[in-house]
């Protein structure tokens, strides 16, 4: 008896038609998400410029074009949830609540950065918002997201773990092993695949025998969702469903966001592997301007609501806010300081616990708050939540 | 002893304690210890030196009268007579 094999999808390299119609949200919420997308875009444009100036070094992977995914998805999570990200994670860190100054200072390599300048662009970590990195080995985050979910389940916690990774990671063994474990053990992991069609310079159809990534995930016996990653409304709605599913079924869910990166893989990339026309077609459907155009033309407030439209003035004010925040973050990073070379060997191992509690002097950074992070603060101070 | 003689002894004693001091540059009416770095031990040795040179006993209660170079010279002159 032969079983019918799933058909290999012809992967579409053209973008889907841009979303239309009114945005089914309160205007305030819509503007909040628009602002977050603007914040990511302006931050990264500045980062690219600063890279050229030599202020930022190493690898710098920009998220430009993919902003709708992090913004739409992360706004569907609760503060107590865990987030595991990749090396293309500036947006995730920012939306999750990390101060922009701490991100910028980290990229500068200053000790006011979120990781004291130890990690740079690829390794943003923030215990306070439960962001477990900035993982720079493709697929490296999936097993540990599975373990975070295992810890939550064994400790009776309600948090889920959202793990972001690219389509390239789907080819790694770690993907398959992690999905299998999570499904086998019924762990609350939300596997969020940011499918931008290219694993570094290799198009997905050259890397995957089955380009329908949901079909792969489904083979591990877990629910799957797919959404247009260029449409923040679709991303958010799909993510909400997926989150609800994980919480309800207490098992893993796979979500694929179809998206596109407008810039090179990293700052070093001649982009010989894709057509200029393809990039331009996707840029036409950029998440920022399609969402903005929709808000301007049709407004927000849902079908029945007041359909409050976005004015150009409002948009410019939002953009000015984002740009001011970036300027402030750059100033914060510029004013930052270098960790003394004498501290080079610090944090290789966890220091021994301080002596008898009664006479112990407070030890910086070893407080309970770092082990059990509090939910993200609503404030957006410039790196204010630094170490003592 | 003339006032000039006493002044010369005072300056010589001072110089034996603080060799780096330029005695010409000292002003007579400003507190001496603002002009020369003398710790308590130096100050004691300075007074002790004057005591030896001029055979003048200086009670501890009088230490506070000796602020400027002019004070010291005047005090000693009164004692030497």
């Amino acid at each position: 008896m032969t079983k019918k094999l799933p058909v290999k999808q012809k992967i579409e390299h053209r973008p889907p038609p841009p979303p239309a119609g009114p945005v089914p949200w309160d205007k305030d919420f819509a503007l909040q998400l628009l602002l977050d997308m603007l914040r990511i875009r302006r931050l990264e444009e500045k980062a690219a410029e600063l890279y050229g100036d030599g202020k930022i070094r190493g690898f710098l992977h920009l998220y430009i074009g993919e902003e709708a995914v992090a913004v739409g998805a992360l706004h569907a999570l609760a503060p107590q949830d865990n987030v595991v990200a990749t090396y293309r994670e500036h947006g995730h860190a920012l939306v999750r609540g990390m101060p922009m100054g701490a991100i910028m200072a980290e990229m500068y390599g200053k000790q006011e950065g979120c990781a004291r300048g130890h990690g740079g662009s690829m390794h943003l970590f923030d215990a306070a918002t439960r962001l477990y990195g900035g993982n720079a080995i493709v697929g490296g985050g999936l097993p540990l997201a599975t373990g975070l979910a295992l810890a939550a389940r064994l400790q009776g916690e309600t948090r889920l773990t959202a793990c972001f990774f690219g389509d390239g990671a789907v080819a790694e063994g770690a993907f398959h092993e992690s999905l299998n474990l999570a499904a086998l053990w019924k762990l609350p992991v939300l596997f969020c695949c940011e499918n931008n069609l290219y694993g570094m310079g290799t198009a997905i159809e050259r890397a995957e025998s089955q380009t329908d990534l949901c079909a792969k995930a489904a083979s591990y016996n877990m629910p799957t969702f797919a959404a247009d990653g260029m449409d923040v409304v679709a991303v958010h709605a799909t993510m909400q469903q997926a989150v609800a599913k994980v919480r309800k079924d207490a098992g893993p869910v796979f979500v694929e966001f179809r998206t596109y990166r407008f810039r090179a893989h990293s700052m070093f990339d001649a982009e010989l592997y894709r057509d200029k026309a393809e990039v331009e077609a996707w840029q036409e459907c950029g998440p920022l301007h399609t969402f903005t155009a929709r808000l301007k033309a049709k407004g927000a407030g849902g079908v029945k609501g007041g359909k409050a439209k976005l004015s150009e003035k409002e948009f410019l004010a939002l953009d000015a806010r984002a740009q001011a925040e970036v300027a402030e973050a750059v100033a914060f990073a510029e004013a930052g300081t270098w960790e003394p070379v004498e501290d080079l060997l610090k944090d290789v191992h966890t220091p021994p616990p301080p002596g008898r509690p009664k006479e112990a002097q407070p030890t910086p950074g070893a407080g309970a708050a770092r082990e059990h992070p509090s939910p993200p603060s609503s404030g957006r101070g410039m790196g204010g939540r630094g170490r003592p | 002893m003339t006032q000039a003689d006493i002044r010369a002894v005072v300056l010589a004693t001072l110089q034996s304690i603080a060799p780096e001091v330029e005695t010409d540059a000292l002003s007579g009416d400003r507190p001496l210890r603002n002009q020369v770095d003398l710790d308590s031990m130096d100050w004691l040795n300075f007074l002790l030196g004057l005591n030896k040179q001029l055979k003048v006993e200086i009670p501890e209660a009088d230490y506070r009268k000796l602020v400027t170079l002019d004070d010291v010279v005047a005090y000693l002159q009164a004692k030497v007579g």
Binding site: Q361 | D37, S40, M41, L44
Partner: protein, 410 residues
């Protein structure tokens, strides 16, 4: 056979230059006797010998700069049989840096082979080469790191052995102008302080506590005492403070001693090192030995003498190494409070600011009193803030009973 090595006189000293030998071969020396004067980065220091014995050979030459641990002389232990053919009988001029192999020296020094604890450092290459060339390694002075005998020493000895032993190697000592020397000395001292203080801040987890101490009673007592004394015998408040620190330390052994090789060693006596600033710049902290058990008058004399000798650059080595705690006293020209940096390997430092009249609340009323702020910087590896605070409290209490400090002359 005893090897007399250049001692380390502090965390900041790693080499010294021999200025003078105070003994010659054949001299009997007593424990504690000054046998040499060595110039360190900080001062010219008298070097004491720590065993009774007889000088056999002076290995270091005047003007020679050597690392700490260099064997400067050899001594026969008291009672050790003296050999008639010791190199002590050789004229000194012939025992230059080159150290020609001498059968006599070989005989006498080979004794040392029986004491593995004092094994000399000889590089494998030097051993191999010496065996090939028949050079007696025991006769060589090492020029390598830490005084190790290295290949070059063997080669020099072999070459000179071949070139006939007639040329005495006299080291030409060129006189350096003293002003230049002074500048170099200051720079060297700065470097030494930098090394010691950087090490302190790097290695010692300091904690700090401070306490304001009313001194009305102490100063009044001092005034009365001084009014009956001749000028030369008058006491400074500093002496009272030093004595009080030394006496109080008896109950706080964890503040009095040294951190060595990863653990704390308590000192039996308290020898407060007195921080003395030098006129040309820099700082030195020689110790007032056993200050707790000496009468105030004697302490005052010793302090006067110590300050004078520190400034003249003639301290004894034990005064530089035996400090068990440092006391820094800013005196009446200083600021009100000082928090010091511990001088390793010590584990504590007491600082006194300027004595000033301050409003003082007591028994529901306000008075004006002379007050000094005492601070303690101490090593958290050894003691805790709680004990440090108790120490200062007890020190404050003791200073309210100055007459007892004078009695403490057991």
């Amino acid at each position: 056979m005893i090897e007399f090595k250049l001692p380390s006189l502090g965390a900041d000293m790693d080499e010294g230059t021999l200025l003078e030998w105070r003994v010659k071969p054949g001299d009997a020396v007593k424990k504690g006797q000054v046998i040499a004067v060595v110039d360190t980065a900080k001062a010219a220091v008298d070097i004491e010998c720590w065993q009774d014995g007889t000088i056999v050979e002076l290995l270091a030459e005047v003007g020679q700069k050597m690392p700490v641990g260099t064997v400067m002389a050899t001594l026969l232990e008291a009672g050790e049989k003296s050999l008639p053919s010791l190199p002590a009988s050789l004229p000194q001029g012939e025992r230059g840096g080159s150290q020609l192999p001498s059968p006599l020296a070989g005989e006498g020094l080979r004794e040392r082979g029986n004491a593995p604890a004092q094994r000399r450092m000889i590089s494998p290459a030097a051993r191999k080469h010496a065996a090939e060339k028949g050079v007696d390694l025991d006769s060589l002075t090492g020029s390598g790191p830490h005084g190790a005998v290295i290949l070059a020493d063997v080669e020099t000895a072999a070459a000179q052995g071949a070139a006939a032993a007639s040329r005495p190697a006299v080291a030409a000592t060129t006189e350096v102008p003293s002003a230049e020397k002074g500048a170099a000395r200051i720079a060297a001292m700065r470097q030494a302080i930098a090394t010691a203080m950087a090490r302190s801040k790097r290695e010692i987890p300091h904690y700090y506590v401070s306490e304001d101490i009313p001194l009305a009673r102490a100063l009044a007592w001092l005034q009365t005492a001084n009014s009956q004394r001749s000028m030369a015998e008058r006491l400074l408040p500093a002496v009272l403070l030093l004595k009080a620190v030394a006496v109080t330390l008896r109950g706080y052994p964890e503040l009095n001693g040294w951190w060595r090789d990863g653990s704390f060693v308590t000192a039996e006596r308290s020898n407060p090192g007195v921080a003395i600033s030098l006129r040309q710049g820099g700082l030195i902290a020689p110790a007032l030995l056993d200050a707790g058990s000496k009468p105030l008058t004697q302490l005052m004399q010793e302090l006067t003498d110590l300050v004078q000798r520190a400034r003249a650059g003639s301290l004894r080595s034990s005064e530089l190494t035996d400090g068990t705690i440092t006391v820094t006293n800013l005196g009446d020209q200083g600021t009100q409070t000082v928090f010091g940096v511990i001088y390793p390997p010590q584990v504590a430092l007491v600082g006194f600011g300027r004595i000033v009249e301050r409003p003082w609340a007591e028994d529901g009323g306000l008075k004006v009193l002379p007050v000094v702020t005492a601070s303690l910087a101490a090593d958290h590896r050894v003691s805790d803030g709680h004990r440090g605070a108790l120490f200062l409290r007890e020190l404050a209490e003791l200073l309210q009973h100055p007459e007892e400090l004078d009695k403490e002359a057991s």
